[in-house]
């Protein structure tokens, strides 16, 4: 990690506070853990001083660049807090504390809600909710694609990237080609500086 090294001492109360904070954030994370990033920044960087600004930024960026759910950026924050406390053991503890904190409450709630919805799936209200949300679900997916595709890009300069996105999109829409081939092709084109 870049940035000036940070050395902190974490007491048992600090670990509990970290855990408690993530438990709370979990309940607020409607729309994904990423929507609580601002609050995590306030708590970890500004209030407690457990992470440097660049560690915080890198945690988000690396998790985005890595395969898997975006929520893993929370694990990296825990990892870095632990590293700052001085050891790999603490870093692993940080991962466990942060991930359990961010996942347990939301997961339990969702599990119960899903069970309830399945049990009452013939009720009019449940059917109306699940089916009624469909247009929004479709719109949301397209929006995420557009937002990701257009982040920090100047069309005149970056048209090959746009072209790559569009070609990949059409191939995925129209064929059953395996995704990993497309990702590998994208990685290769990028490595060779063609896009």
């Amino acid at each position: 990690m870049s940035g000036a090294p940070l050395h902190i001492v974490l007491s048992q109360a600090d670990w509990c506070s970290l855990f408690g904070h993530y438990l709370l954030l979990s309940l607020l994370s409607v729309g994904g853990a990423i929507s609580t990033t601002t609050e995590m920044h306030r708590y970890l960087v500004l209030e407690q001083g457990w992470l440097t600004q660049s560690q915080f930024n890198d945690s988000v960026a690396i998790a985005q660049a890595s395969p898997g759910p975006n929520v893993l950026f929370v694990a990296l924050m825990g990892w870095n807090v632990g590293l700052n406390a001085g050891s790999y053991a603490a870093a692993f503890a940080g991962v466990v504390v942060a991930m359990c904190g961010i996942l347990i409450p939301s997961t339990c709630l969702t599990y119960m809600a899903a069970r309830w919805a399945r049990l009452h799936r013939d009720k009019l209200g449940v059917r109306a909710f699940k089916q009624g949300m469909a247009p929004v679900v479709v719109g949301l997916m397209v929006s995420v694609g557009i937002t990701l595709g257009s982040a920090h890009r100047d069309f005149a300069l970056d048209w090959p990237l746009w072209l790559l996105s569009v070609v990949a999109g059409i191939l995925i829409w129209r064929t059953r080609i395996h995704l990993l081939w497309l990702l590998a092709a994208g990685a290769l084109l990028g490595w060779l500086q063609l896009v």
Binding site: V30, P69, Q131, S143, V144, L161
Partner: protein, 195 residues
């Protein structure tokens, strides 16, 4: 769920399937879930996917984590839910930690940065294409096709052009769609009850 619909053969199958799909998801695991679960393995229909997603999205927590939990639960109950969750998180978590350790050494290599850029462009295309494919499910929707189509377009406009927060979009647009769907379903069920 119908009788002849394919389903995961075992918990191991479930775990491996979720691990593999998580590893294909750069920035958008949800789109990979749709491609793997609906199109390739056919464990879910397009409609079931959208309905489960509606629940996963409005509950707190990462939506793809919530969705995996629900898909696992659908087939193997609590054990399945935990297995799917472990599948989508374990290997990506180890990978992201390795990346964090490597990051400081290779972050400035132009090839690495280019490869990440290329993969991100493919991922953006994937997500937008998934949205377009999901739109086909709107044809069987209780709401008239022109209306649900317009709602999906409006959703994109609100989120991408006007930058309305997700929570408001879900509440207002989603709420409207759910309300109208409720009325249509209610009228239908009344008609069915009084021949």
């Amino acid at each position: 769920m119908t009788e002849d619909q394919p389903r995961p053969a075992s918990l191991t199958d479930l775990f491996m399937s979720f691990t593999l799909l998580a590893l294909q998801g750069f920035g958008g695991v949800l789109a990979v879930v749709q491609r793997e679960m609906v199109e390739r393995k056919r464990w879910l229909t397009q409609e079931e996917f959208i309905e489960d997603w509606a629940v996963a999205q409005v509950m707190p927590g990462p939506n793809v984590v919530n969705l995996s939990l629900m898909i696992g639960d659908r087939y193997f109950g609590l054990r399945g839910a935990m297995t799917a969750l472990a599948g989508i998180l374990t290997v990506p978590l180890l990978l992201v930690l390795c990346l964090a350790v490597l990051h400081s050494h290779y972050a400035n290599h132009p090839g690495v940065a280019g490869a990440l850029r290329g993969m991100a462009a493919v991922a953006a295309g994937l997500i937008a294409a998934t949205g377009i494919k999901l739109a086909s499910a709107l044809r069987n929707h209780p709401l008239p096709a022109w209306f649900s189509g317009a709602a999906a377009v409006l959703c994109v406009a609100l989120l991408v052009v006007f930058k309305v927060p997700l929570a408001w979009t879900l509440l207002l647009l989603g709420g409207t769609c759910v309300g109208l769907t409720y009325r249509i379903l209610k009228t239908r069920s009344l008609k069915a009850a009084t021949p």
